[in-house]
């Protein structure tokens, strides 16, 4: 059978990138001092599966690199090596390198071989330096194996140290039903086994179902193999490396030290099973990992039985073991029978827990990958259904009689279902913000290290969900804000200590839902913004007139002014402005808001308010003449019926409106858009006070209509973007209404008379 592997490439890349993210997260936790064997296992699994996948697909560079990396990780996993800061650093860089290699392979670009070679050599150097033989705390601290403080290098190979390799192995190989489907061929494994030595293979077909029930893609056969020769256990395990976690594998040695080893392996399996039941792992792989980790428990059993049977060479070979063996021998004084019995008893739960583990593995998290276009199509269809349904309701409204009543009831029900459907579809596009947050531990660690600052990152609310499109666009602004906070917010440890603050600064990222919006806060406990300096700088640049007094908020908003944030600004304040205008613009483009709070010496907080989704908008419908426009509710401050005394004229045409202490320009939409209004007198219509980029203006409209959630449609798809409009939407009656883009409307207003030519040029 020939198989086009290329079709799996994308999945491999996507999964590998995700896996690398989790590897990075685990590494960071490890470096933060969290000692957990599961973390090490996670890291190992990632390297292992990337190695496997890239070898299968023929990405030999990646495979070769990950192979070496895996060797190093294996030492970490088996406790031969301690995860110190330098090692974690190397591993993090390996993580980056793998990501770049995968990226390069994906886009069919050449891999930076020099970089690969350098890191490869570095890892090999680490491997050559003698490992720290003390077991890492992670292993000793794991609840799964309280009885296993024994040094692990002797445990990993229970038989070898004695130089009395078995003369043969009995292997019971029971593939999981999914083995074939995952691209593994038992026949290939058997052939490979045969290369190790003379093999006697017997197949067990008793689990094969009758023909009508037979699924040809399921593997129901199992094998018993007798392999002759002095072969290392590791060599056999290596053959089954690929199917680790997808099969039950039982190795039994026969020969001089045979019986001892057999129980050793079984005992390991038992411990693994115990671990499996106690920690309820989510995948079979986890169980396997536990099993390997649990092997240290084996020596005790080995010794127990070995002492019982014949004076074991192991004891002399491993004095360390002997100490631990002592209590074990005491508790098992009966020769031969007792240990075997206990092993058999213990083996029972091992077999019974195995299916459960497999079940968990096949569950696969219960998710599928769907392209975003398919979801958008679905969303479109639902949007159409909502409109059709409201047309139906309008048609049914004037009908009379009992049947009409029934019809209206049914339509009411339809409406409820529609709303549910729409919400469900919207939720499909939602992802937790942790997708974005996850990149920060690394960023904070690296940048903090580089700048010599000690920073603790706190993430809260990272399960807050928001639309994928919003998520994609919020990443960069957040990175900017966090970098700013590290660079200019948090002070160096010396400065902090001098100011009576703890040496390490805290940066906090917090996300939560608030009234149909998502709020993301980036706060630091650094020096805070210096109001006076900002103001002085703004005056110098002519952004603020000499004697103008500004509110706190207005002052902080100045740092968002384009160009305000350049290197010539006084450094300790200023850098905060670097690219802040970009941050603000990006967030405004998403229909969001940015606010800054800051107190000198205590730190600052940037609060970002974002819509949950870009596909739907809370809108206020406003009528001007016969046209209906949608005004985003997020931009509306209030709506007012104008009184004569509130209106003043600055020049013949420019009217202003006094709102409390502020004078706002009045934008007559009918004039701006050139349409025939119902009212031209300010006193007749309504003034909507809207805000954008910190500027407030009054929009004069004829009347307000309903508020509703509207589905945003692009004008660009079949037409082109028009400044002043964020898009269009369909109203309940199927009509199209344009959605106002307040910043665009305001700049239209400012550009209208004197600079019409310029506006036209821009538009053209």
């Amino acid at each position: 059978m020939t198989l086009d592997l290329a079709q799996f490439h994308e999945t491999f890349f996507a999964e590998s990138f995700e896996a690398l993210d989790s590897m990075e997260a685990a590494l960071l936790k490890l470096s933060a001092g969290e000692a957990d064997l599961e973390l090490v296992n996670t890291i190992f699994r990632v390297a292992h599966s990337i190695k496997g996948g890239s070898a299968t697909f023929g990405f030999s560079d990646i495979a070769a690199f990950t192979h070496t990396l895996e060797t190093l990780l294996d030492e970490l996993r088996s406790g031969k090596r301690r995860a110190d800061a330098a090692l974690v650093d190397t591993l993090l860089r390996s993580c980056d390198l793998m990501r770049d290699m995968l990226g390069a392979t994906q886009s069919k670009e050449p891999i930076d071989k020099a970089r690969v070679g350098a890191l490869h050599a570095e890892i090999e150097l680490v491997l050559e330096t003698p490992a720290d033989s003390a077991p890492i705390d992670t292993v000793a601290g794991t609840a799964a194996m309280p009885a296993a403080p024994a040094p692990q290098d002797s445990a990993a190979r229970p038989v070898q140290p004695a130089d009395e390799a078995p003369t043969g192995w009995r292997i019971h190989f029971v593939p999981g039903p999914k083995l074939l489907r995952n691209g593994n061929d038992p026949l290939r494994l058997l052939r490979e086994l045969a290369t190790l030595g003379p093999c006697d293979v017997r197949v067990d077909a008793k689990w094969v179902p009758p023909l009508p029930e037979l699924d040809p893609e399921e593997c129901r056969l199992s094998w018993r193999i007798e392999l002759e020769g002095a072969i290392e256990e590791a060599a056999i395990k290596a053959v089954f490396d690929w199917v680790e976690g997808e099969c039950d594998l039982n190795l039994e040695a026969f020969g001089p030290a045979a019986e001892a080893t057999a129980t050793a392996v079984t005992a390991a399996a038992v411990t693994a099973a115990a671990a499996a039941t106690s920690v309820a792992p989510t995948s079979a792989q986890a169980v396997t990992a536990q099993a390997i980790a649990a092997e240290p428990a084996a020596p005790e059993a080995t010794l127990t039985q070995a002492t019982a049977m014949n004076p074991p060479p192991q004891v002399s070979a491993n004095e360390g073991l002997a100490r631990h063996a002592a209590p074990a021998t005491n508790t098992a004084p009966a020769p031969t029978a007792a240990p075997e019995e206990s092993a058999a008893k213990a083996a029972a739960p091992a077999t019974s827990t195995a299916p459960a583990a497999h079940g968990a593995a096949s569950g696969d998290g219960g998710s599928i990958r769907v392209s975003i276009e398919k979801i958008d199509e679905l969303l479109n269809s639902v949007g159409e259904l909502v409109i059709t349904q409201s047309v139906l309701s309008q048609l049914a409204a004037p009908l009379e009689g009992r049947e009409a009543e029934d019809l209206r009831n049914a339509l009411g029900q339809l409406e409820r279902h529609m709303r549910g459907l729409q919400e469900s579809v919207m939720r499909v596009r939602m992802l937790p913000i942790s997708v974005v947050f996850n990149r920060f531990p690394r960023l904070v660690r690296d940048l903090g290290q580089r700048l010599g600052k000690r920073i603790e990152l706190r993430l809260t609310g990272d399960s807050t969900e928001l639309d994928k499109t919003v998520l994609e666009k919020i990443g960069d602004p957040l990175v900017h804000l966090v970098r700013n906070a590290i660079d200019h917010g948090i002070e160096t440890p010396e400065v902090r200590l001098a100011a009576g603050k703890p040496a390490h600064g805290v940066i906090e990222l917090n996300a939560y839902h608030k009234g149909g919006n998502v709020v993301v806060e980036v706060s630091d406990d650094g020096g805070g913004l210096r109001r006076e300096k900002i103001l002085a700088k703004a005056r110098e640049r002519g952004l603020v007139s000499g004697d103008e007094e500004l509110s706190e908020e207005r002052v902080f908003n100045l740092i968002f002014a384009p160009g305000f944030s350049t290197a010539d600004v006084v450094s300790d304040v200023s850098g905060r402005g670097v690219g802040m205008d970009v941050v603000k613009r990006n967030i405004n483009e998403l229909g969001g808001h940015v606010q800054i709070h800051s107190s000198p010496g205590k730190g600052s907080m940037v609060r970002i308010r974002l819509p949950l989704t870009l596909a739907i908008l809370d809108g206020q419908l406003a009528r001007v003449g016969e046209e209906v426009y949608v005004v985003p509710i997020v931009s509306i401050v209030e709506t007012i019926q104008v009184r004569q005394e509130q209106v003043g004229s600055i020049a013949a045409r420019a009217q202003v409106f006094r709102l409390r202490d502020d004078y706002l320009p009045i934008i007559r939409l009918y004039e701006l858009f050139g349409i025939e209004p119902q009212y031209t007198e300010l006193l007749d219509g309504l003034l909507m006070i809207v805000e954008a980029d910190g500027k407030r203006v009054g929009l004069f409209v004829d009347e307000l209509m309903s508020q509703q959630q509207v589905v945003i449609k692009s004008l660009e798809t079949n037409f082109r973007p028009v400044m002043g409009f964020a898009g269009a939407t369909m109203l309940g009656d199927g009509r199209v209404a344009l959605i106002l883009d307040i910043p665009g409307v305001i700049s239209r207003f400012h550009n209208r008379e004197p600079r019409r030519d310029a506006a036209q040029q821009v538009a053209a």
């Binding site: 037409f719 002043g724 269009a728 344009l738 036209q760």
Partner: protein
């Protein structure tokens, strides 16, 4: 519409004939390649978009998609005609760069489908730098009548990319 069964242009037998949908606008007959035509709709009104030329009547809702609607009379500088229930919108799909766009074209009435061989298409005479000339692919004669074959891709693109004006009428 005329009752004549599928009028056939001369030279139909030749290879490479193309079918054109013809329509009438201010007494003149125009043709567009039939493969560009997605559907024909009755006039249902549009929403005006400020700052666009008058011949861009506005946008309409075509099953959830926003589609611009062009008035061919105004586009060609012909006297306007009031819209009513008999006004027809031809929905066309055109190439616009790498993408495909959908647009509605308002005409007086749809008339026939003609098969036209390339040999029967005459180049439009140079009308002295008229920008509209570029949107006419050629002329052909059917039943002694002149039919202007439009380059609909170019026509729609010229409307969409037209410079902004200050407010709509």
């Amino acid at each position: 519409m005329r009752a004549a069964a599928m009028p056939i242009a001369p030279g139909d037998a030749e290879a490479g004939t193309t079918q054109y949908l013809s329509f009438v606008c201010a007494g003149e007959e125009y043709g567009v390649e039939i493969l560009c035509v997605q559907e024909i709709k009755g006039w249902e009104g549009v929403t005006r978009v400020p700052y666009t030329p008058a011949y861009l009547l506005g946008v309409m809702n075509l099953r959830g998609v926003i589609v611009p609607v062009i008035d061919l009379r105004l586009r060609f500088g012909l006297p306007p005609r009031a819209m009513d229930g008999s006004t027809v919108v031809i929905v066309v799909r055109v190439r616009a760069g790498a993408a495909e766009k959908t647009a509605g074209v308002v005409v007086d009435a749809v008339s026939e489908v003609y098969s036209v061989a390339p040999a029967n298409i005459r180049q439009a005479p140079d009308l002295g730098g008229s920008p509209d000339g570029a949107c006419v692919r050629g002329l052909t004669t059917v039943d002694e009548k002149m039919v202007m074959l439009l380059d609909i891709d170019r026509l729609v693109a010229s409307c969409i990319d037209a410079p902004e004006r200050a407010g709509t009428a």
